[in-house]
Symmetry: C3
Subunit: 309 residues, 3 copies
């Protein structure tokens, strides 16, 4: 049987193209499963998964939980608020304690860049990175590519622009890696203060003019405006951001072609995107959410196949 | 097969008498189920239910969760504290995101009047209102009526007085609708500042004298004193409330008949009701809690029958 | 079939030696189960267990939850933060409400000494004490003894020193009762301000010199330094504590024999114990965690056998 080239899912940068194809092929199967009346398979009845979320998250945590339950895995939830982290325990000790209770896979969101990689070197379990600081968010990038492939037939050769706060976005970085691996062209668009200087070294062009960026692309992946970042250091106000980088129906209708609109959520309606755009037939935002469960089932399933039983 | 006249359970005011009879007949069956050694039925193995609680709740949330698990549904819990609500996402977006993960039924508690109705107009899922602001709390009213029917044989023709803070109580309003629909007579009793003026327009008499109210009734449904409301605006002090509207054993024993005592909980012992009353054989308070699981199983089961599979 | 002499697990002091032997024999079986590929048994499909944690806990709560799930029980979680406790409800009312929903076993952690005993006198359910104030933590003591038995063949005749803050430790007290019941010798070692005067009346010797304590013992059970207790009242500073009572590799290597190192967690690495000690082959810290699940499965299973079905 086909298997992933990696032992953990720590970031897209550790994957090759075959891995992505295998994940997508497996996700195709699970997408069919979750659209059946009984949306479950008994595949992982012998696997225990711990969800360790050291940062808050709604959709990612819920999506992973559902993916795990639909695979019939045993699920344990652990959030930092209830934890021994406050008592001064190290991350490795916290996780080793959980693993001593016979946990096979750890899904972890953590505020520190590289937390997943660090953990994978020190504990005996499969690690899935559900977001590490401003670094990577690999399952989000996989579900984004999967949704483009579903909508446009393939990712190869497509032109994708990522719009917004690239500097602080793990979604942007993981998407760039995933899209390039599959042969897409990627540009980023946003305020220069929110675009990191190293981005061009990744082979990504910067386009600060929204209109030009949209005219160029097949797909616009619109990032959420993080209000807490809207200050003098990065950008004067949300209102000014909307004027320069907000997408509305008029802008889209004037393009003379129908581009695909994506958003990782949660949406600030009227800020980075208007309601008529978010709810239009060009938007695949809710498909992204639906595909997230199937893609996460695939990742978990494939890593679980490597566990000796 | 019999079916409800409604597509959601948004409030008692949308139900007819047949609906209530159907819910009670179904609850009779489930009450028998939850008193078996194995308290589960496999009925809803193909249904996923999300519990969305934007306000805290112990007994209602627990009761719904148990009802869902005993029907073998897949259950997802979501509370506002962990959520994207804080990031400025709209209620509809939050719920649509959850639904995109293939959720069939949403049980929602929300601080705003009409939140369930609003939601039912915008999303594609069955909505069960688990309390919306000061408006309705339909499953509480159903379990209250079910408990009266169990204790007294029927609700029809019975005299029920609801005692306490009617103004801010969703329990009171839903109870009034449910009791009248089944042919009971309803009075309310409490401080005039805590009784809304519109109440008489619902065909409900106001009785400000506790003794007279109790002499009249077959059943007294005693509401919890919400300490945070005991200020000069509504009522000077808890102590004064207890003197005028608190129920103790002496008052009950002087009635010359045995009335039934109900309370939706949590009880403030010694405030609206003394311990010897709460724990007496006239009290059906814990029966209400037990029946809550059976009635919620019935509501969920009946709505799930309308979902195409 | 063998049965426990008690109806609840409220503290080690209510058990006899047969009870402990029965729990350990049962835990042996479950330890084998949780090391199988499918780590579950269907034994308690007809049992509902409520975890009531009025104090935070990571490992104990997780360990109980896993134990319950691996026995196929229905599990309900209730933590004080979400609860009616804040609304002024009494503990008995809170628990009776939960029990009215057909709960068979309550696992409770509570800040008050004797909360479990109190509860067991007033409600109709099996109670398992998961820690009551500074009093007892019986399942921790059972898993500690079980781990010693596993490592050294038996507990009888062994010399165990418990090191640290004995005064505030429910782990210490439950361990003393359990070890003595099985015929071990127990000493305590720590700052005199953190050793209660009554300890000698339990037949426990006090040794304030760490080196002498370690030379005497077969097993050192090292308690966590509770930083919040390190003040002038009990001990001047963490640093001074480490100098006098901290265990490092050098101290161990100079003993001329290999003692067993235990710790209930979470560890403050570099404070009460250095990393090379915690991670050495003398340490059975993670075995304790693993055994915790098996021992808790045994306790729950044995109490459940007493429930009429």
């Amino acid at each position: 049987m086909d298997t992933l080239s990696v032992e953990h899912l720590l970031g897209i940068k550790y994957l090759n193209e075959n891995d992505i194809n295998l994940i997508f092929k497996t996700a195709d199967h699970f997408k069919e499963v979750i659209n059946r009346p009984i949306k479950k398979v008994p595949s992982l009845r012998d696997i225990t998964i711990a969800n360790l979320f050291f940062e808050n998250s709604t959709r990612t945590k819920l999506s992973f939980e559902l993916a795990e339950k639909r695979l019939s895995a045993d699920v344990i939830n652990f959030s930092a608020g209830q934890s021994s982290v406050k008592k001064g325990e190290t991350l490795i000790d916290t996780v080793n304690n959980i693993l001593a209770m016979k946990v096979d896979i750890v899904v972890m969101r953590h505020g520190n860049v590289g937390a997943g990689v660090f953990l994978s070197n020190h504990v005996n379990a499969k690690i899935i990175n559900a977001g590490d600081g401003t670094h990577e968010h690999p399952t989000q990038a996989l579900l984004d590519s999967y949704s483009i492939r579903e909508k446009l037939g393939s990712v190869k050769g497509k032109k994708i622009v990522i719009i917004g706060d690239i500097l602080h976005s793990r979604v942007a970085l993981s998407n760039i890696f995933a899209l390039q691996l599959q042969g897409a062209q990627v540009k980023v668009c946003g305020p220069t203060t929110l675009i990191p200087k190293y981005i061009t070294s990744l082979g990504v062009e910067v386009e600060t003019n929204l209109k030009k960026a949209l005219e160029w692309c097949d797909v616009a992946n619109v990032l959420r405006v993080q209000n807490e970042r809207m200050d003098i250091k990065y950008f004067p106000s949300t209102r000014e951001y909307t004027q320069l980088f907000g997408i509305n129906k008029e802008i889209l209708d004037n393009l003379g072609k129908k581009i695909v609109i994506m958003h990782p959520g949660p949406i600030n309606r009227g800020v980075e995107i208007t309601s008529d755009v978010a709810d239009s037939d060009q938007s695949i935002i809710l498909n992204q959410v639906e595909n997230g469960v199937a893609v996460r089932m695939a990742v978990i399933y494939l890593l679980a196949q490597q566990i000796k039983r």
